[in-house]
Structure formats: structure tokens, C-alpha cells
Symmetry: C2
Subunit: 358 residues, 2 copies
């Protein structure tokens, strides 16, 4: 049997093993971040989220950026595939799919990352339609947070890549779940059994949630994955589209197991109410959280939140910080802002050293 | 600088690297389990918990068992140290310490594992007194679940070993926390800095929480630990003192991120009310939990719980299962009952293979 690493090299020829990618963070992972990650031998993802209105301009900007990177430009020309991925939120429904399909058909990104269906039929529907319009050239990634969801995804939608998201992940994920150390081996074993029994190709496994550096990346590979995704670490990259106040709050946070929590509070304060009920967003706890815990009414909290929004970057500073600071439980390991290419290369090479891969 | 592995070999000469140990599970980890783990080259722990009334008989039984194991008996004779550890819950207070001290002085176990203080002064008090009565021959292990607690422990009590417990752990632990992938590297880095700045010896690091097999063990070592602790896996050992119904419920559970939860419910149902408020117990969700979620009064739930207790092993069976089933989020990876020695050896050797340690 071929090793997963040779699969990666065949499907994404510009990448280097082990493959590192950035999470498709909505509004944050745009052309500069995705291009920098792919240019460094990873897979850069754009965060389209629940909205296709900027998808075409985002992909167009990415294509222009990639044309300036020799290794990627050459691949793009010969394979006619855009060497980045795009992430979508499936709960946005059929309208999003229909709006996205012609654009994805035009740009043919190397990967589409699907997350958070609100109906069990959505993963298969998206996979079928995306395979049709890209003639199977776009690889389909599906992010799950439980063993049951992994089995359902592999059975129904047959994704090429399964992203296993731990409860430690920053931003949106299942409200309840487990860490990678227990989740990855169980998903690996159950999916392997299912694929063997059904003569189905095993998807590649990617980890997400709590990984901040080469140690988390190497641990992921030991646990059974062959690729690694980071979100919070890339928040502190020069290429992330992120408010300085937000980035500084990420740099300042530590001890994320207790200084962050997963809840629906920050979505509510921001006026985001579309996520299915089983999802919450993990973020750094600040005055909005503490006031809510102390019994402040939502209306009062929302008023103060909106006032903090008007203060811009100051809305993230000190004891009076109120603004949403989505970040994972490993936030204390992120202590500087670096180039996304440096982050990608450093994590990959560090993981290889730890695993004695030559 | 000597590697942590050579420290282990020097301090616990009967062990083989990487060191695997069982959690000091109260009422479950008794002489048979602790002896089997130590005899297989790990460090077996007895669970004394909050009560010293059976400590002397437990240690006496362990000494008798160990005398039957050639490698351990020889060590015990030459070093005059009992090659196992004992775990205590510090919130039980000064009475427990005073009751335990003369017994520990008599038996000189290789390690004492301290957990869950209710006062910040307790770790140092216990460490000082234990070092005094055992003349420094008993190594002091301190279990923590946050970076802040790790720093406080190292600063105040200077434990020889720091056990880093993830939120995935079964049974008691902090209600809120993170997985090992983010927690271990941050604890490692902050403690290393602190020890370097203060000219203090770095404690050995052990992981606990979510580790079920060689993959979790190897990942722990990659993350920065040099020893590994498992609880749930040893619940399904022949040597665990455990009701068959409980053990079968552990074997049957899967997808622990959503099929287990950490709460105070099961402690309340069992009449255990002494744990500090920040701790909860992770267990497999059953009818007690679902009924509580559906609004059943505690009084009614407690009545049904007590009735289930009378049914014995049947109280853990099927849809009507109500009894406490403490287990970690990796419970789905435990699928058979084996000897504790086999478990210890298999996890150690598997971890070495994964890490290419010869």
C-alpha cells in the first residue's frame, strides 16, 4: 500500500511532506495568507464561509498573487488548477452552493473544505456537485469533530480528506468534543475498518485544534494523521487580515485551557445567529464573558460590545477588552508575529526533526 | 545535560523507558494493579485518595505481592524502597497528612502523587513533610491541569515530577481545561524558563488524560513529557478492582468526546461532596445524566440511582444504565480486558517503535 505521504505528493505536487495548511478562517484567510502558505510548500486556504459574494474577487486576487510565485505559477499553468483551497460553511445551504459552483468551475481550486452541515444530506450533495463541475479535479475536504460524523462523512460523501477537529480549536467547532490525543486514533481505526470492509479508499487525515508548533504537528502524525492544520498560529502571521487589537490579544493570552472557552456568547454579541445549535466559538475570555457570567443582561452586554466596536483596536485592550478574540486553547504558545511562509516551513521542518524523518 | 530518560533510570531503577504508569484510582488501583504495572517495568500507583484507613493494609499487601516478583523484590531489598507509588487527594487536609505520614515513613514508597489541593499552602506542606519522614527517598509527584498551577507547584513545592492532566482525563480533574497537544508544550516551555531563571532543577514531566495506547504515549513524548500515565485503559485490566458492570460499560462506550462529559452530577448522586468546586468527574453519559438534562429533580434521580446500586452490575446495562462510569474521552479505544503487565509493555514498546527509539 502506498504511504499517505506519497498520495499528498501526487495530488498536491507543490507541497512538501508533512503537509501544513492554514484553516479557512472567514474574513482572515484571504489571498495573501493562502498564497504564502502554498508558496512555502503547504496548502493555503481561503475562508469563504457562508457567503459567495466576494469569492470571485478573492480567487482572482489569489491567482494574481500565485502568478508571482515561480513554483506555484508553473504548477498552475501546467495543471490548470489553482494551488490553494477554499472553505465553506454548509449550513448556508443550497443558495451558497449554487452561487459558488460556477466560480469554482472557473477557478478549479486544488481543494474545497466543507464544514458544519445543518442537514445530513448536505455533505454528499456538495461533494457530488463539486466533483461534477470540477470534473473531479478539486479535492474535497470534510471537517468533523466526532467519530460518528467521520463515519457518516466517509459513508455518504466519500471525501478525499477528513479534517479531524479537536475541541481545543479556536473559533467555531462542536460545543462538546475531545482533544486530538483521543480523537485521532479512534477516527483512524474506525475509518480504516469501514474502508477495508467496504472496499473504499481511505481518506487522508488532517488534524486541527490546539496545534501551535512543530510539537503539535509531529504529535498529530504519530496519532495517525498525515497532514496538519493551524488557525490560531496563523492569526499571528503578517499575511492574516486581522485587526491589530485582535492580534495583540492573541499574543498576550496564555493558559488557554482556562483563559479561553467555547460558547455562543460572542456570536450573539456580533449578531451571528446562523450556526447550528451544536456549534460554539472558542475565544479568549474578556469583559463581555465575565459580565455575562456575573448576570449582566444580554441587551446591556450588547450595548457595551457595540461601543467597544466603535473604539476599534482599543476594544481589545486590557481589563475593558470586550471584542471577540477567537483563538484555540494553545494560544499561550503563540508569542510573535511572523511571515506565514516562515511559520509553515518552521513547523514542517521541526516536525520532521522530531520524528527523525530525513 | 542528562536526558530525562537517564533520570528515570537512576531514580526508579526497575523501570524501562519510556515510563508508563497507572493513575492512582481510588478503590480501583490496589495492590494487584500497582504490582503488575511495576513488575512490567512501569510505575504502579495505589489510590489512597482522601482516606488513610486502608493505607497500611494496602501497602502491606503490595509489599507481599512485590516480594513474589524477582526483579522488584531484589530492588526492594537492596534499596529498602517499595517500588510503587501512592496517590492522595490534598483537599482531605491535615488529618489525612498526619494519618499517612507514619505509614509512609514505614513503607517508603518510591513515589507519592499529590492532587487537588483546596488551599494553596497544601502542596508545599505535603512535600516538606513527606521529604522529612522519608528522608527525601520518596519522590513527590504533583498533578496539575493549568500552566498557572504548574508554575505555582514548581515555585512553592518543587515536586520531582509534574503530572500534566488534560481535560480529556476520566474521573476527577479540572472542570475546564485543554487537551495535551496544547497543554504539554506550554507547561514545558514556561517551567523550563522558570527553572532556568531560578537555578532550579526541572521536574520530570508526565502526561495524563486521553492516552489509551502507544500512539497517545508516543505523542506525549513528542509534546515534551518523558513519562505517561493511563487510567481508563487500566480500568480494563484483569488486576483492576472494578465491578464487571462498570468494566463492560467502559468496553461498550465509544466516541468519548460526546459520549462522556465532565460534571459534578455523578459525585452528587454517589454522595461525594468534598471535591473543591473547580473539579468535576468525566464519565460515560447514561440515564442519570439524560434524566438530569431533561429536568428530573435531583431527589428523584438520586432515588433511581440508589435503586440501580441495589441492582449491582445490572445498574450499568443498556438504556437504563444509571451508575457512575468514570472514563476518559478516549474510552472508544479500549476494547478488551488484558493483563496490566501486557498493557504496560505493549504501550511502552509501541511508543518506542513509533518514535524509532532503539
Amino acid at each position: 500500500m502506498a504511504s499517505p505521504q506519497s498520495d499528498w505528493a501526487k495530488i498536491y505536487p507543490w507541497t512538501k511532506a508533512p503537509v501544513i495548511c492554514n484553516g479557512p478562517m472567514r474574513l482572515i484567510a484571504l489571498a495573501p495568507l493562502a498564497t504564502a502558505v502554498s508558496a512555502a510548500g503547504g496548502i493555503g486556504f481561503l475562508g469563504a464561509g457562508s457567503d459567495a459574494s466576494t469569492l470571485s474577487s478573492m480567487l482572482s486576487a489569489t491567482r494574481d498573487e500565485i502568478a508571482k510565485c515561480p513554483n506555484l505559477a508553473q504548477y498552475m499553468e501546467t495543471a490548470n488548477i489553482l494551488p490553494v483551497g477554499v472553505g465553506f460553511l454548509l449550513w448556508a445551504g443550497e443558495d451558497l452552493l449554487q452561487a459558488a459552483l460556477p466560480i469554482l468551475e472557473e477557478y478549479q481550486p486544488a481543494a474545497v473544505w466543507l464544514f458544519a452541515p445543518s442537514e445530513p444530506s448536505q455533505p454528499k450533495r456538495w461533494c457530488d456537485e463539486l466533483r461534477r463541475v470540477t470534473r473531479g479535479r478539486t479535492q474535497l475536504w470534510m471537517q468533523i469533530g466526532t467519530v460518528a460524523a467521520a463515519l457518516a462523512a466517509v459513508r455518504d460523501a466519500k471525501p478525499d480528506v477528513l479534517v479531524i477537529q479537536a475541541v481545543d480549536a479556536g473559533g467555531h467547532g462542536l460545543q462538546y468534543g475531545s482533544g486530538l490525543v483521543s480523537l485521532v486514533p479512534e477516527v483512524h481505526d474506525r475509518i480504516s475498518e469501514f474502508c477495508a470492509e467496504n472496499g473504499q479508499k481511505m481518506p487522508l487525515l488532517v488534524t486541527a485544534g490546539g496545534i501551535m508548533d512543530s510539537r503539535g504537528a509531529a504529535a498529530s502524525l504519530i496519532l495517525g494523521a498525515s497532514g496538519v492544520c493551524m488557525g490560531t498560529r496563523y492569526l499571528c502571521s503578517h499575511e492574516a487580515e486581522i485587526a491589530k487589537g485582535y492580534q495583540n490579544a492573541v499574543l498576550a493570552a496564555s493558559d488557554g485551557g482556562v483563559s479561553t472557552a467555547r460558547s455562543k456568547l460572542y456570536d450573539s454579541l456580533r449578531g451571528t445567529s446562523d450556526w447550528p445549535k451544536e456549534y460554539g466559538g472558542r475565544g479568549v475570555l474578556n469583559a463581555s464573558w465575565h459580565d455575562a457570567q456575573s448576570g449582566m443582561t444580554f441587551e446591556e452586554n450588547k450595548k457595551l460590545y457595540d461601543q467597544a466596536m466603535e473604539r476599534g483596536n482599543e476594544g481589545w485592550i486590557g481589563d475593558k477588552a470586550r471584542l471577540t478574540t477567537y483563538a484555540g486553547s494553545g494560544v499561550g504558545l503563540v508569542n510573535e508575529v511572523q511571515g506565514a511562509g516562515i511559520i509553515t516551513t518552521e513547523v514542517r521542518q521541526g516536525a520532521k526533526r522530531l520524528l527523525k524523518i530525513t
